[in-house]
């Protein structure tokens, strides 16, 4: 029988999302262990969440946390830097270190038969990094070179300028790599001291998901992290004051494209509005068919893509819109984004079919994000970091489904518009500044040396 092409096929009811239950234990020294045995491929994913984020950088040493984390696997225990990397490579894996605002994660996925050996290496890295001077000098120089190169990277400049404009001197107001003056001044003693204070096991969580039994994990963790120091728990970050609304134009002569960011303060990951924010963002700018991408890319052809997102943290996070647009479309694109932000909290709320599509999309797509053991481990790491309840995953779909248009409207009015926004445009100021000013959206500051944000 021929296919009916007069309409799209119906989509049936989605299966419930499966998420393993993690068993918990604790290692001497305070490290919490959460493990879930998952059969299938002979591999295991490991993530160590340490409560050392960029928010713990001292005010005059931005980048210290990232530098410390980056040096921890440059030699540890009896192994120098090269020998340590080679040891991971022999196990067919490598360590990935990610420094965020609230935590640093160390992670790897490894063939199951090498699980114990790889975990032992991780334990040595966390508990006994060597911090040798030669490694410190090299790593610091590499970071200074990276900062130098970022001068010509519009997305990096825009991100930093945005953080700085929204947060000011708040601990969330800088990039992970810090800046040239802090990296010039930093000393090896500061790194060593920061490691002892910020990278301890108290408050840290080890997540293991994969084809290894709970007993094996607990035994291996006890051995690997036996000598891990406790360290200091991080202080809560304060609530930042609202920024002065402004549009910052950073001059990049002759740039054919303008890198754009719009941002405002939002709330924490623990907010009771979380599910409403996820739905709201999906409809507004979270995926391809969202309002803002449809407008700027598919209707106007200004950009390769535009997205929004809530960057929620343990402390006050952000709402951000980011895109890169053709130079001569800069002011119009900026105006379009502001129009969409105000409309979603006013003239054109997310409701009816549009709301139904967003919630359905999230409900149906949720299982996709938990396909691999690495994805499951990352989800578990988020739950540990933010103290989310164990049934967070199982409750997600019902909670999203239960949201009403009123819930979304309230969330939009509170967390999207109105609000003091900061916009950053990295582009050819000689061509884009005047059109931006003529929009009359508020104060416009021109910065002729964008690289100053990196100094």
């Amino acid at each position: 029988m021929p296919i009916d092409r007069s309409r799209l096929p119906d989509v049936g009811t989605p299966a419930a999302v499966a998420f393993p239950s993690f068993s918990r234990s604790r290692v001497a020294g305070g490290l919490e262990v959460r493990t879930a045995h998952r059969r299938g491929l002979p591999i295991a994913s490991v993530i160590l969440v340490v409560r050392a984020g960029t928010a713990r950088d001292p005010a005059d040493r931005h980048g210290l946390t990232s530098l410390t984390a980056g040096l921890m696997d440059e030699g540890a225990g009896s192994l120098n830097a090269i020998a340590l990397h080679e040891a991971f490579a022999r196990l067919g894996t490598h360590l990935e270190t990610d420094v965020g605002a609230d935590c640093t994660t160390f992670g790897f996925t490894v063939v199951e038969r090498h699980f114990e050996a790889a975990l032992a290496l991780l334990g040595t890295i966390v508990g006994a990094p060597r911090f040798e001077r030669a490694d410190f000098t090299r790593e610091r120089e590499l970071r200074l070179s990276r900062l130098l190169q970022m001068r010509e990277m519009p997305p990096a400049i825009a991100d930093r300028a945005m953080l700085s404009a929204v947060y000011g001197a708040h601990p969330y107001g800088h990039g992970a790599l810090g800046n040239e003056s802090s990296m010039d001044a930093v000393t090896l003693d500061e790194v060593t001291g920061h490691h002892v204070r910020a990278f301890g096991c108290a408050g840290s969580t080890l997540i293991v998901c994969g084809n290894v039994s709970d007993v094996r994990v607990e035994r291996a963790a006890a051995s690997a992290f036996a000598s891990c120091p406790a360290g200091d728990a991080p202080a809560d970050v304060m609530v930042p004051p609202d920024p002065e609304p402004a549009i910052v134009v950073m001059h990049r002569p002759d740039a054919a494209q303008t890198e754009l960011r719009l941002a405002r303060l939002s709330t924490t990951r623990m907010t009771p509005d979380y599910h409403a924010l996820v739905v709201l963002n999906l409809a507004l700018g979270g995926q391809f068919v969202s309002r803002i991408n449809s407008k700027l890319r598919e209707e106007k052809g200004y950009t390769y893509g535009a997205r929004t997102g809530f960057d929620l943290r343990r402390g006050t996070g952000l709402f951000i819109c980011q895109t890169a647009v053709e130079r001569d479309a800069t002011a119009d694109a900026l105006n379009d984004v502001f129009a969409e932000l105000s409309a979603v909290a006013g003239a054109r709320p997310i409701e009816g079919a549009e709301l139904e599509r967003a919630t359905t999309s999230l409900a149906r797509g949720y299982a996709r994000g938990l396909e691999t053991i690495d994805q499951v481990a990352r989800q578990a790491a988020q739950m540990a970091l933010y103290g989310l309840p164990d049934d967070h995953v199982h409750r997600f779909v019902p909670q999203v489904r239960a949201l009403t248009a009123d819930d979304i409207a309230r969330a939009a009015a509170r967390w999207i518009w109105p609000a003091p926004y900061v916009a950053v445009a990295v582009g050819d100021a000689d061509r884009i500044e005047a059109p931006i000013r003529s929009l009359g959206l508020g104060a416009v500051h021109r910065i002729d040396a964008p690289e100053s944000i990196l100094r």
Binding site: L8, P9, E86, A89, H94, R151, A256, E299
Partner: protein
């Protein structure tokens, strides 16, 4: 443990190859379509078409004349497509209850795209592509280096001479007539393969594939494009001024084609030279002598001939010529003595892990469905997963030494990318590269 990717294959009457892989761990199904067309099927003056087409394929077809992202994202799917010199792929990973939706849409754009293709869509997506080009190449440090290298290694009418994204003038000039002719020639069942992987029975999947795709007419046979790539007859030294802070050297050689003899050895050579912090060049250039800040060495494998590259960014105050000397010294040492047993064991362990990790995802770029289509398209044999890994496990100190020796004997292109106005930072004797 034996690593494999089991499948069932069926060829429909119209020539469409259908591959099904059952995997019931998660309630998901991956749909993946490869068209054996890429930028190497284009001609000078009409470059960027395969990629432009990738964009247009998401803009609607005869029976669903609006965006493809809408219904699929509403159904919880992730989806995307990509184009390179050799092939174009499209995929959707859907909750299993949305499989028919994905098959309906994929078959509609394979069988019924042109009636829905309009001047307005073409104009809009031309602009989007020009913005993609600005974002990923023109406004990105070192972004145009690959254009210069391809231009240097391949003569002007070789189809690897131009980048997949195309030349801006060609993209701007793309007409509805040209674009339609390109579609008719390449986007049809006989030049495509469909893979379905995941939580579905094989027989059921094949029945559905036949129902949705079976009535699409077979198109004209497409002959393989395998133009010879003549070796360079002399070393080429080029310089490109760019908005960068630190100079960077690109060394590029012709190397064995994808799956040809030696391809895997060059891949492993890339790992030994530049794969992470344990590699020879990283140790010497970045760790010990601190002459460079970043390093890549890799085999970019392609159907009609590959390119082996070593890329290194100079540390502040250091010279590209210093880097070049060290690379040549390490190549000479590898060619003469081969890598150590330990190095070979390490890169083989990494390769084996990488193959296991590749089995984690059903869909998406590099997932199970994508791999089946790759083996079918390039080798005519979807069962090649195990044999592919074997290529790496068979490599030896001698075979990798042979790859290094081949690089030493061959002429190469050396491109210096330097800060604007600093042409003197380039290798001596470099001539300006012309890129758009």
């Amino acid at each position: 443990m034996t690593l494999e990717l089991p499948f069932v294959r069926e060829t429909l009457d119209n020539g469409l190859t259908v591959l099904v892989h059952e995997h019931h761990d998660a309630p998901l199904v991956a749909v993946n379509v490869w068209y054996h067309v890429g930028s190497k099927n284009e001609r000078p003056g009409l470059t960027g078409f395969a990629h432009l087409f990738e964009h247009l394929m998401f803009e609607g077809s005869k029976h669903h004349d609006k965006g493809y992202f809408g219904p699929l994202q509403d159904a919880g799917a992730s989806l995307n497509g990509s184009t390179n010199a050799d092939r174009t792929n499209y995929w959707e990973t859907v909750p299993r209850e949305a499989l028919d939706l994905a098959l309906w849409l994929e078959s509609d754009r394979m069988g019924h795209l042109l009636p829905a293709l309009t001047e307005a869509k073409l104009t809009n997506q031309r602009d989007v592509v020009l913005n993609e080009r600005r974002q990923n190449y023109e406004n990105r440090p070192y972004g145009r280096a690959s254009f210069a290298l391809l231009g240097a290694l391949y003569h002007a009418d070789h189809p690897y001479h131009w980048p997949t994204i195309g030349w801006p003038d060609d993209i701007s000039a793309a007409s509805l007539t040209d674009v339609s002719a390109f579609f008719a020639r390449y986007y049809h069942p006989a030049n495509a393969t469909l893979a379905i992987a995941g939580d579905i029975e094989a027989a059921d999947a094949i029945d559905r594939a036949r129902a949705f795709f079976g009535d699409i007419p077979a198109g004209p046979a497409v002959s393989p494009v395998r133009p010879p790539a003549p070796p360079l007859d002399a070393r080429l030294r080029l310089v490109l001024e760019d908005r960068v802070e630190l100079p960077r050297i690109y060394m590029a050689w012709h190397s064995p084609a994808l799956f040809a003899d030696g391809d895997a050895d060059f891949d492993l050579l890339g790992e030994i030279l530049g794969g992470g912090k344990t590699s020879r060049l990283y140790k010497r250039l970045v760790f010990d002598e601190r002459v460079a800040t970043e390093l890549v060495a890799s085999q970019a494998s392609r159907e009609a001939g590959s390119m082996f590259q070593v890329i290194a960014t100079a540390a502040p105050g250091r010279h590209l010529a210093e880097i070049l000397d060290i690379v040549d010294a390490e190549l000479s040492s590898l060619a003469a003595d081969g890598p150590s047993e330990d190095e070979v064991e390490r890169v083989k362990a990494q390769a084996e892990s990488a193959f296991i990790m590749r089995l984690q995802h059903l869909g998406g770029f590099g997932g199970r469905a994508d791999q089946l289509n790759a083996y079918q398209t390039y080798l005519g044999d979807p069962s090649a997963f195990g044999a592919d890994l074997e290529r790496y496990l068979r490599a030896s100190r001698a075979s990798i030494a042979g790859a290094a020796g081949a690089l030493l004997r061959r002429q190469r292109a050396e491109l210096s990318v330097v800060p604007e106005g600093q042409a003197a930072m380039a290798l001596a004797g470099s001539t300006p590269a012309h890129v758009v």
